[in-house]
């Protein structure tokens, strides 16, 4: 019998946890992967998980503070990802993976991907970017397999990753120029768009994430 995959959705008062948890459970069900999803802020549960999902909504600084507010939670996250547990950050959850955020002052991020989270300029366009935008893939990757033609993700944001190393990017989207939409470094990945709200495109990415065996571990910056 296949072991049930344990998926930890991190609860740090940073977002729509129920939606992310429901979508992960549905992706597992649709792809026939036995799994159980827990919404948790317990460090031991994070360390023991097979997959970690970090949702996020609102401001970078608030989310970063939320992550540090539960004793031991951030350390557990660092330990688990260092040990190779696949990680997916969603929206501000992805942004937290960067070196720093510039929303409401400068705040340190997890430093798993190079670059910083800065306001988008997109002259002449509405702000925030709200709605469906096409994903342009920069290289093939197990997380982006099977998405069909012209896949779109649902975006809601006015800050975005900039000055990241090109090899970090899996996909960009066009909003007054290329905007990072999906990133990956070893076993840690993130989507700027809401996979949990991107219909079958999002469910496929989540299913890919559950089936993913990263080849290289994360290179955590100093």
């Amino acid at each position: 019998m296949t072991k049930s995959l344990s998926i930890a959705v991190i609860d740090y008062e940073g977002g729509n946890l129920a939606s992310a948890a429901r979508a992960a459970a549905r992706a597992a069900e649709l792809s026939g992967i036995p799994a159980h999803v827990t919404i948790t802020n317990r460090p031991d549960a994070v360390r023991a998980a097979d997959r970690i999902i970090l949702p996020g909504q609102g401001a970078f600084a608030d989310c970063a503070r939320g992550l540090s507010a539960t004793p031991g939670l951030k350390d557990a996250l660092l330990d688990a990802t260092r040990a190779g547990t696949p990680f997916l950050g969603i929206c501000v959850g992805m942004q937290l993976m960067a070196e720093r955020g510039l929303e409401h002052g400068t705040t340190e991020g997890l430093g798993w991907i190079s670059g910083e989270i800065a306001p988008m300029e997109a002259p002449g366009l509405r702000m925030p970017q709200m709605g469906w935008n096409e994903l342009n893939f920069t290289r093939p990757h197990p997380l982006t397999e099977g998405l069909g033609t012209a896949p779109h993700g649902y975006f809601v944001h006015s800050y975005a990753l900039r000055n990241t190393r090109p090899e970090t990017l899996l996909a960009t989207t066009d909003y007054g120029g290329p905007v990072p939409a999906m990133v990956c470094n070893g076993n840690v990945a993130g989507t700027q768009f809401h996979v949990e709200k991107s219909q079958t495109v999002g469910l496929r990415i989540l299913a890919n994430f559950l089936a993913w065996t990263p080849e290289t571990p994360c290179h955590v910056h100093a």
């Binding site: 792809s31 909504q57 509405r126 469906w132 709200k197 219909q199 469910l203």
Partner: protein, 262 residues
């Protein structure tokens, strides 16, 4: 390129759809969840529930509807109607709503917008603005379903809600609502020029060309209720009309394919 959003809106009262045709596909046409699932499959870009439950005792019926919807479909869901406090918002967001639309409560206490944006982030704060023309190029904000004039200028109010941290404006022309004579295009133009926020146009759609006109006037979301519920148009007909006019739309996504396992 960001796509226009075609947004069917369902009026929900005591947990049931108010206007709704008996589509043959549905077991229960009055169940908002069934209707939502149908729109999800039909390529809707978002959904909006407008809760028009009057009695206080039945206010929680919408929470059950939202929660059952969020279990089944993975599409952004906005819920409006009766949102008075950040606690109301919290309950809706926890049930699975992605955005909450506040209207009368924001007019009577504008600080609610700031509080909501601070607590949950601007991305889930929608301010519903009900507008009635007062003179040429001027519109007045109304509340309580278009019954109560407030003396506020619509364009000033749109700018104020943007400054207070709203993430989106749902702009309804009370003059056009129910007339099927098209969106109030001068209202849309004035509002979309005055603020940088995305604006969802609502009120007055009766023909396919009205969607095109609304988009050309600057709206990035196009909301309609009865033309969809009564089966006059499908979402995909609307998208085809927009695409033919050279406007950006999202193709209907393909169903989930389980990967063949190797």
């Amino acid at each position: 390129m960001l796509k226009l959003r075609v947004i069917p809106c369902l009026d929900v009262k005591n947990g049931r759809v108010v206007k709704g045709v008996n589509f043959v596909e549905l077991r229960d046409a009055g169940d908002p969840v069934e209707q939502a699932a149908l729109y999800d499959a039909a390529g809707a870009d978002e959904l909006t529930f407008l809760d028009i439950t009057a009695s206080h005792e039945n206010r929680d019926t919408i929470l059950d509807v939202v929660s059952r919807t969020a279990e089944r479909i993975f599409l952004p869901l906005t819920v409006g109607g009766g949102v008075r406090t950040t606690d109301d918002m919290r309950r809706l967001l926890l049930a699975g709503a992605d955005k909450c639309a506040m209207n009368s409560a924001a007019v009577s206490r504008p600080e609610l917008i700031n509080e909501a944006a601070r607590k949950f982030g601007s991305q889930c704060v929608v301010v519903g603005v009900d507008a009635r023309q007062s003179s040429t190029g001027k519109w007045e904000v109304y509340t309580h379903g278009g019954r109560t004039p407030t003396g506020r200028d619509v364009i000033d109010w749109c700018q104020e809600v943007a400054e207070r941290g709203a993430g989106e404006i749902l702009l309804t022309s009370m003059d056009r609502d129910g007339t099927r004579s098209g969106f109030d295009l001068s209202l849309l133009k004035a509002a979309t020029q005055a603020v940088r926020l995305p604006i969802v146009a609502s009120g007055g759609v009766g023909e396919l060309k009205h969607f095109v006109e609304g988009a050309e006037a600057g709206a990035t979301g196009l909301l309609a209720a009865s033309v969809f519920h009564f089966g006059q148009f499908t979402v995909s007909q609307v998208k085809s009309a927009l695409a033919e006019a050279g406007l950006p739309v999202r193709p209907t996504p393909s169903p989930f394919q389980a990967k063949s396992r190797t």
